[in-house]
């Protein structure tokens, strides 16, 4: 009897979930958000269908405020793996001039991310969308199923979720309903980094410490990635050695001071850290139960 390691078990479970979606849904898509979790998800999808390529496209909902390094990494990854990448931008939001500075994080996230995602899923008729969310990230995510059923309006009903015993997923749905599927549900942040190190998975360089231009704003270190970020009176651009634990829209993502420039350094730093990875995410702190509320409205 061969004892599988912790990471081997997680890997096998995720591959099973990915294959189950392809076997039972008509038109799946992988929501690729460029971060470390998406990198692991994509790597697992490549493994699940080897020697073939995954039989579904990647979708990136571009808020137009991602770090430039994320966009170049995204395009390079799709090219390297030979995958079809769909980029969707909510043009209505762009025309209305929605942005994180003038509109605030709540409106910006709702219009450019949540509405944008719903538009893209509807336009292409996707009936299952893979996401890289993990249950250890946030309290309401800890209660979400692996196969999360969404209404035709993309709403999540946490009080009426189907039980998922063993690895038996009930994939029946009505016309118009869809699934958000989370193959990394049982992974932790530490598992993700350990697996990236073990499998040598490329990740965006922003995860590694380097000297970067940052501004101290509302208690966070915001990297000024382009000219669109105007300085407030008294603010100065400092060059500091920083890195990011999670990646999102650059004005909404706080950097951490760090000198961790290798995977080993990152893993050591994470194990010693006393702050959760989502601390740098400004959108999570929009009020108690805010992630749950966003999920009700159709957010991933």
């Amino acid at each position: 009897m061969i004892q599988m390691s912790h990471l081997d078990k997680l890997e096998a479970e995720s591959i099973f979930i990915i294959r189950e979606v392809v076997a039972t849904c008509d038109n799946p898509v992988l929501l690729y958000s460029i971060g470390k979790d998406s990198a692991v998800l994509l790597h697992l999808a490549m493994k699940a269908f080897y020697p073939a390529r995954p039989p579904f496209p990647l979708l990136h909902v571009d808020t137009t405020w991602k770090f430039r390094e994320m966009i170049s990494f995204r395009d390079e990854t799709a090219r390297r793996l030979g995958l079809n990448l769909i980029v969707h931008i909510n043009e209505e939001g762009v025309r209305a001039g929605v942005n994180p500075f003038a509109s605030g994080s709540r409106v910006h996230t709702d219009v450019m991310k949540t509405q944008g995602l719903k538009q893209a899923l509807d336009r292409h008729g996707f009936d299952a969308a893979f996401g890289g969310a993990r249950r250890d990230e946030e309290k309401s995510r800890a209660k979400e199923r692996v196969f999360s059923l969404r209404s035709a309006e993309h709403r999540w009903d946490p009080r009426n979720q189907r039980p998922e015993p063993w690895s038996l997923f009930n994939t029946r749905k009505r016309k118009g309903e869809s699934f958000r599927v989370f193959p990394l549900s049982n992974w932790t942040e530490a598992d993700v980094w350990d697996y990236i190190a073990r499998e040598n998975i490329p990740v965006v360089p922003l995860y590694f410490a380097a000297p970067r231009p940052v501004v101290r704003r509302d208690g966070a270190l915001i990297m000024r990635d382009d000219e669109r970020m105007e300085l407030r009176p008294g603010e100065v651009i400092e060059t500091m050695s920083v890195r990011f634990r999670t990646l999102g829209c650059y004005p909404l993502t706080g950097a951490v001071e760090s000198t961790a420039a290798t995977l080993e350094d990152i893993i050591a730093e994470m194990r010693g850290s006393r702050a959760s990875e989502r601390q740098g995410r400004i959108i999570d702190h929009d009020g108690a139960g805010s992630m749950e509320q966003k999920k009700h409205e159709g957010y991933f």
Binding site: M1, I2, Q3, M4, S5, H6, L7, D8, K9, E11, A12, I15, F16, R19, E20, A23, M46, K47, A48, F49, Y50, P51, A52, R53, P55, R135, D136, E138, S140, R141, A142, K143, P158, R159, P163, P165, W166, S167, L168, N170, T171, R172, K173, R174, K175, N186, T188, A190, D191, D194, Y195, E264, R271, R274, A275, S276, R278, Q279, A288, E292
Partner: protein, 537 residues
């Protein structure tokens, strides 16, 4: 923040980064269960905190939430760490199963924190379905409650063999050994009939941390280990079906082009090597394994639990739901299975109604042909029953419309557990645990007779049986009266008899035709989307 100052993690939990970073340490999945307010969420919150899995920003929002919703006065309410839904925090109860993750230098843990309320039993069974071990909480002030027995029965049914009984809130009974011993004796007596391999009793206080990570000075009479070391050392019970060979349920046919045709699946048992002879079930065709393929190249061999792709030497017809079987197994696909059912649907089980059954990767239609009993999980007694309500447990024989490869649940969870799906609501309405092939094989004439009778006149005590008996007696009475009248009027007893017989036959035939026409008319007027979604996935 004085509450924080008191709760500094125990310093002896020094991590060994090499073991963790290598990802080579083992995994233990466990479930916590018990009655409402036994302190499950508090215990998990405490373990997460002590294992360093709670971060400073999370502690900040915990402190905020504790003041707003907490039940512990000024102290931190650890339950709020795990009760993630707004409704749960507002009501101070756990509604849904929550999964939590933490690691010590020796092991990673996945904890299913499950609700104590009876109406959420299905979530408890879900948590137990993948658990290696169960922590059952008992409130020292209350002793055993009906839910304690109920949950013990469910975890035992779902194959959890190792139990830790955490006797919590010992601080509220003055750490009284006599109370601990009495609950220990009560629990052993109450669960004597259940199939547990080990039962460990620990006196603790989740709120204060006694005997959670290290042994407490407040229980000098207790010589056993604290909870966390027990969890670190538990060895998951090996699940062997006692047979050589392998089982590979086919999940997906990987056919990117005409040159490659692979069968992808997760190995449910055994070891598989290229060149192995293989039988495809249910068809029974045979071939050999040509290649064993992993995530990025060919493998020499694959073991149970691995997700792989194989190719075969011959072009054989293989579909999702088939099982590739290696070795000398006398395994056959079954169209009838005997199983223990745990009903999870809001509507009760309907005997004879068509449900979908998903087992492994196979999906077929099924009807519960015979409900043998329902189990009273207070007393563990089996009694005859006409149906199972939500959270009911019973034994049944199911007939399938296509053969499925299955094994007894005790030997293999992957091919022994199944779910039942309602074809109209699409809800998961039941969990099933295979106990064997159908209990009504050809030789067993008594079950066949009972089943035939039950199909005809409904289960004992059911509404249907009452209806049938009333109908039969009315039909006989009315035919008898008619026969009497005809006999008297015509003066010929034979004519009376003929009229009575004709009444029984003609009325039944006309009634059947009439009902059939109405049923067809009703089906035609069903909403379109219901009819459509009933057509398969």
């Amino acid at each position: 923040m004085s509450a924080l100052a008191r709760l500094v993690p125990v310093p002896d939990a020094e991590p060994a980064p090499e073991a963790l970073a290598a990802g080579r340490h083992s995994l233990l999945r466990f479930i916590t269960c018990g009655s409402v307010d036994d302190g499950k969420s508090t215990l998990i919150g405490r373990m997460l905190f002590e294992a360093g899995a709670v971060f400073e920003d999370q502690l900040d929002s915990l402190a905020k939430d504790s003041r707003k919703f907490g039940t512990q006065g000024e102290a931190l309410d650890f339950a709020l760490l795990v009760d993630g839904l707004s409704a749960e925090r507002e009501q101070g109860i756990t509604i849904d199963v929550a999964y939590r993750y933490f690691a010590t230098p020796r092991r990673s843990f996945i904890v299913a924190d499950t609700p104590g309320h009876e109406q959420y039993t299905r979530n408890m069974a879900t948590g137990a379905s993948t658990a290696d071990l169960a922590v059952i909480l008992v409130d020292a002030r209350k002793g055993l409650l009906p839910q304690t027995r109920r949950h013990s029965y469910i975890v035992s049914s779902l194959g959890v063999r190792d139990i830790v009984v955490a006797i919590n809130k010992m601080d509220l009974v003055g750490f009284d050994e006599a109370i601990f011993r009495r609950i220990e004796a009560d629990y052993r007596a109450a669960t004597a009939g259940l199939n547990f391999r080990s039962v460990t009793f620990i006196p603790l206080s989740a709120r204060d941390g006694d005997n959670v990570v290290v042994r407490s000075g407040r229980t000098p009479w207790y010589s056993g280990p604290a909870l966390l070391p027990v969890l670190e050392e538990a060895e998951p019970a090996a699940r062997a079906d006692g047979q050589a060979g392998f089982l590979l349920p086919v999940q997906w046919i990987n056919r990117p082009d005409l040159d490659f045709r692979g069968f992808a699946g997760t190995l449910a048992a055994g070891t598989l090597v290229a060149g192995d002879a293989v039988t495809v079930l249910p068809s029974g065709r045979t071939t050999r394994i040509a290649r064993v393929i992993g995530g990025d190249g060919d493998l020499t061999r694959a073991h149970a639990g691995q997700a792989i792709t194989v190719t075969t030497v011959d072009e054989v017809d293989i579909a999702r739901g088939d099982v590739l079987v290696g070795g000398h197994r006398d395994l056959k696909a079954a169209t009838q299975i005997a199983a223990r059912l745990i009903w999870t649907g809001a509507e009760p089980l309907e005997i004879g109604r068509e449900y979908q059954l998903k087992l492994g990767t196979a999906l077929v239609n099924t009807r519960v042909a015979l409900l043998h009993d329902a189990v009273d999980i207070e007393t563990f007694e089996a009694r005859p029953a006409a149906s199972l309500p939500m959270n009911g447990i019973g034994h049944a024989t199911l007939r399938l419309d296509a053969p499925v490869v299955c094994l007894p649940y005790d030997g293999n969870r992957d091919l022994g557990g199944f779910i039942l799906i309602d074809r109209i609501s699409n809800e998961t309405v039941g969990f099933g645990l295979v106990s064997g092939p159908g209990a009504t094989e050809a030789g067993d004439w008594r079950s066949r007779l009972a089943q035939g009778a039950q199909d005809l006149i409904g289960a004992p005590g059911s509404e249907r049986r009452g209806d049938v008996l009333a109908l039969v007696s009315w039909r006989l009475a009315s035919a008898g009266t008619l026969a009497g009248i005809v006999a008297v009027v015509t003066g010929q007893p034979l004519a009376g008899l003929a009229a009575g017989a004709a009444d029984i036959v003609a009325r039944s035939v006309l009634r059947t035709l009439h009902d059939g026409l109405w049923r067809r008319a009703r089906e035609r007027s069903l909403p379109a989307d219901v009819a459509e979604s009933g057509g398969g996935i």
